[in-house]
């Protein structure tokens, strides 16, 4: 008999499905140490775990780029598709028509979404397809070693080269103008805010876009860059404190010192609670959201939080008029009409 004392049982936290967080992790990241994208991956893992998503019921979608490699690093029990550059939205649309019951989480970058894939992003928003669309936005192309992307801010300078002079595309402003039903901006360093927003996006029915400033530590983290950790921390304007209360928890009344809060009920019954910091932001007003974005741009700041929300629009599944059962489960004999039906068609064509 060994005289080694028995190890005390380690407490493992389980979520509402009795799953440990390990059920939601993925492979080891091959991104640069300190990359903002890895922080976002860990937030995705947490969000899925805390939300009690079945670990195999997610579809992880991505395009091409540093960000698009990350689906390998989270939710290892789910299938994923690392597609082609900028075209993840269309692949997701096709998959969604066949299995509308999966939770689609798309991860993209600024090269993927603001340049080559901007058309597909626009049309996915227009269709209000049910998906969470996270843009890991660092203002540069990493895999090709540091060229400016279309979201690089004017006057911002990456590690090598001259300051960017070309007008950036603000993907949140674009999305709001397109009538996107959930538009948020966050920062990879703001784990709590980002976590709440991702969880809320998972509970939303329709297209949820979260533009996350995610510094590139290798090519764009210098002091002159407007997307470095230091700059974003100094220049972030937070619209509100965000809290997420899942539908399986009771919503509690809380004290908000010196301010107000606003609860928004999401499609699955969960709540996102927005606590006012200074001035109140009305997320159901596109004008307020666009004003906040514009003001921040003028001041060379980054505004974060839930910019815009609209739960009145039908999602793509409703528009398509599909049967309730996901098409992937519809049996062959239903998919192929019977011989009598073909006989009728032949007869009608003969007449």
């Amino acid at each position: 008999m060994s005289d080694t004392p028995e190890r005390p049982a380690r407490a493992i936290k389980l979520n509402v499905l009795n799953e440990p967080k390990d059920s939601y992790t993925g492979g080891k990241s091959s991104l640069c140490p300190g990359c903002g994208h890895d922080q976002i991956s860990s937030v995705i893992i947490n969000a899925a775990w805390e939300n009690g998503i079945e670990p195999h019921r997610v579809a992880k979608m991505s395009g091409i780029g540093c960000s698009s490699k990350t689906p390998a690093y989270y939710l290892g029990q789910s299938h994923g598709f690392n597609t082609v550059h900028g075209r993840m939205p269309s692949v997701t649309t096709g998959a969604y028509t066949i299995n509308k019951d999966l939770l689609y989480i798309g991860v993209s970058g600024d090269g993927d979404s603001a340049s080559i894939g901007i058309g597909q992003l626009i049309h996915a928003i227009r269709r209000n397809m049910d998906m969470v669309y996270i843009i890991e936005n660092n203002g540069v192309y990493g895999l090709t070693k540091g060229q400016y992307s279309a979201t690089a801010d004017i006057g911002s300078k990456k590690k090598k080269g001259t300051p960017n002079k070309t007008q950036p595309i603000d993907l949140c402003a674009l999305a709001i103008n397109l009538g996107c039903t959930f538009v948020a901006r966050s920062f990879s360093g703001s784990k709590k805010q980002l976590g709440s927003l991702i969880k809320a996006a998972m509970s939303h029915k329709g297209f949820a876009l979260i533009d996350v400033i995610s510094p590139c530590v290798t090519f764009n983290n210098n002091d002159e860059s407007m997307r470095s950790y230091g700059y974003v921390k100094e220049n972030e304007i937070t619209l509100h404190m965000t809290d997420y209360i899942p539908h399986f928890n009771p919503v509690e009344e809380i004290d908000v010192p010196g301010g107000h809060y606003r609860d928004i009920t999401l499609h699955d019954g969960s709540t996102i609670r927005l606590e006012t910091i200074s001035a109140e932001h009305d997320p159901e007003s596109a004008i307020a959201a666009l004003t906040a974005l514009h003001a921040a741009e003028v001041d060379k700041k980054h505004v974060t939080g839930l910019l815009y929300f609209d739960n009145t629009k039908p999602s793509l599944a409703e528009d398509l008029g599909l049967v309730d059962m996901p098409l992937v489960d519809v049996p062959d004999h239903v998919l192929r009409p019977g011989k009598d039906t073909l006989d009728k068609i032949n007869a009608a064509l003969h007449n």
Partner: protein, 595 residues
């Protein structure tokens, strides 16, 4: 005068957007109902209204369906092409022309029937005189050729399905045309229509509609498409039949339709559907396939079942959008960058359009790869006689997809790209199942689907893909052979050339040359094609393009000793193949051999 019955070509020259198409279809349908073997070709411009259009009706007791080598009866309405059309006629041809077109009859060596078509049409209804003018010439032709009034009226009823006022108006207009000819002209041409017994009842249908029906009976679950001539009517055919074929009592459907923002997105959606375990397809033409190349490569490399129909039009670039060609063969077979090889199904009849419509999905899931259907404008947008479609003779083939955990767990080792059976076709699981969850990718991967740059992994993967597609050769539709016992000359051809081949064969036979025929119906080509070549002294590959694309594929794949036995005859001018042109070129090629 000796009469010529059921062996002539009518060419009707109008402008598009004037409503001539419905008049032409009434003419075609009434001849068809009289049992006369007839074909119609619409030569229309890429334009909404006002540009020249020709409709060519060929009557042929021998069953020739090509436009024919000359026009016997010219109907002239369009001032824009008036002189060109007149000048191209052989002496003795018949010209039915609109006297109100303010144009002159400049030929005195033709049989001329002037008709005040516009004036007659105005008598019926001045507001729609332009539309009615077209039906007037059908009445004139009916009287001149002896088309039965009953068949005409039945064709009108079919065209305007239940629209009583339109039916009445058209029948009145037909009568005016008939009466004018009867009262003002005496027939001085030899052409007549004779009724033929109908042995097997047939109907007319466009290839695109036949493919659409086939796809629906193939269980299509997603159609994503971007409008492009000449494939739009294929997609719209599916959309039109969904309420009848794929919608439940509550009005909900089992076939999603998404009109994509472009062809790239259409292809992406098809792949997404296949990845998720569904049957997705798109319909497009060459320019669309050009745009889809990136996704086609992803489909090949990540092994995603997917179906792409290409209704070939004239390229390169925007080309001639409303003309026909067989010029996308190479692009489909070797589509996308890197080493690829794709399965291509090539129907030559409307019956095959239907059959390959449903089979494409079975092959896609069986071989887990993009499948192309290659039709063309001639087959897709013109009407062809059909006895009826045959119900699929086998259940849907869903391929090696593992849906049950018991089955999954019975595998000793599972890898998405593991060649368990030695046929190059791996097993797959579906998203949402939790079984073997992998991140599909267009990057290099090992047999487990994990990213790999290892030389061995890449080499083995590419060899397996090759083996997989090679394995399809003798499973895909075999060529159709019509062989002569002499086995001197063989002709290999494909697709819509089916409708011209017999006329070519007859022209060649009239010069004393007997040829065997081999119609290729799929790529990679069946081993029977090679056997056909080795049996014959010489084989000519006949194609509607400039470069001899199928010939090029054969040269690449045939053993050396057979390559020297194969010749190419490729020709394309945008017009559906006329037998004379191809026969002449075949004869030239044979002559060169003798010299």
């Amino acid at each position: 005068m000796e009469t010529i019955a059921n062996d002539f070509t009518i060419n009707i020259a109008t402008a598009n957007g004037t409503g001539s198409q419905s008049a032409n279809l009434i003419l075609l349908q009434s001849l068809f109902e009289m049992g006369v073997p007839v074909s119609g070709k619409n030569m229309f411009p890429s334009n909404i209204s006002g540009l020249p259009t020709w409709y060519i009706v060929r009557l042929s007791d021998r069953g020739y369906q090509a436009p024919g080598n000359r026009t016997h009866i010219q109907v002239l309405l369009n001032p824009a092409t008036w002189h060109e059309d007149l000048e191209s006629l052989e002496p003795g041809s018949v010209v039915i022309w609109n006297e109100n077109a303010k144009m002159e009859m400049t030929r005195d060596d033709v049989v001329s029937y002037p008709i005040p078509m516009s004036a007659l049409a105005r008598k019926i209804n001045p507001k729609i005189a332009k539309l009615v003018t077209n039906i007037i010439y059908v009445g004139v032709l009916a009287e001149m050729l002896g088309i039965d009034q009953a068949e005409l009226e039945s064709a009108v009823a079919k065209q305007f399905k239940g629209k009583t006022s339109a039916i009445e108006l058209n029948i009145t207009a037909l009568g005016l045309g008939r009466d004018y000819f009867k009262d003002n002209h005496s027939k001085s041409d030899p052409y007549v229509v004779e009724k033929r017994a109908i042995e097997k009842p047939q109907f007319f249908i466009e290839g695109n509609e036949a493919v659409a029906l086939g796809c629906l009976f193939g269980g299509v679950q997603l159609l994503s498409w971007y409008p492009i001539t000449p494939s739009s009517s294929l997609a719209e055919g599916i959309i039109n039949y969904i309420p009848q074929l794929r919608t439940d009592d509550d009005g909900n459907t089992t076939c999603a339709v998404v009109q994509a923002e472009d062809e790239l997105a259409a292809a992406g959606m098809v792949l997404g559907a296949g990845w998720a375990g569904g049957r997705g397809m798109t319909a497009t033409s060459g320019p669309g396939i050009s745009l889809m190349q990136e996704f086609i490569g992803l489909g090949y490399f990540a092994e995603i079942p997917s179906v792409f129909w290409d209704v070939n039009r004239v390229g390169p670039s925007t080309g001639l959008p409303t003309r026909t060609q067989q010029s996308d063969i190479t692009m489909l077979y070797e589509g996308s960058h890197g080493d690829t090889q794709h399965i291509v199904l090539i129907p030559g009849t409307v019956e095959e359009c239907f059959e390959f419509g449903w089979r494409a999905f079975d092959y896609a899931e069986r071989f887990q790869t993009p499948i192309f259907g290659l039709s063309d404008l001639d087959l897709g947008m013109n009407r062809w006689a059909c006895e009826g479609f045959e119900y699929p003779d086998q259940d849907m083939d869903r391929g090696k997809v593992v849906r049950d955990r018991d089955v999954f767990e019975a595998f000793e080792e599972f890898g998405r790209y593991l060649d368990v059976d030695g046929d190059g076709i791996p097993y797959r699981t579906l998203p949402g199942s939790g079984m073997d969850p992998i991140l599909y990718r267009g990057t290099g991967h090992n047999s487990k689907g994990v990213y790999s740059e290892k030389p061995h992994d890449y080499y083995e993967l590419m060899q397996r893909l090759k083996r997989k597609i090679e394995g399809a050769r003798d499973i895909l539709p075999a060529p159709l052979l019509r062989e002569e016992t002499e086995c001197e000359i063989g002709i290999i051809y494909l697709g819509s050339m089916e409708n011209t081949i017999q006329e070519i064969d007859d022209i060649l036979e009239a010069t004393g040359i007997k040829v065997s025929q081999c119609r290729v119906r799929a790529l990679p080509m069946h081993s029977e094609v090679e056997n056909f070549i080795s049996r014959h002294k010489m084989t000519i590959v006949l194609e509607i393009n400039r470069d001899g694309q199928l010939y090029g594929i054969l040269r690449k794949e045939l053993p050396n000793h057979l390559i020297t036995k194969v010749r190419s005859v490729a020709y394309s001018d945008g017009v559906p193949p006329r037998a004379g042109i191809y026969a002449e070129r075949i004869l030239e090629t044979l002559k060169e051999e003798v010299e």
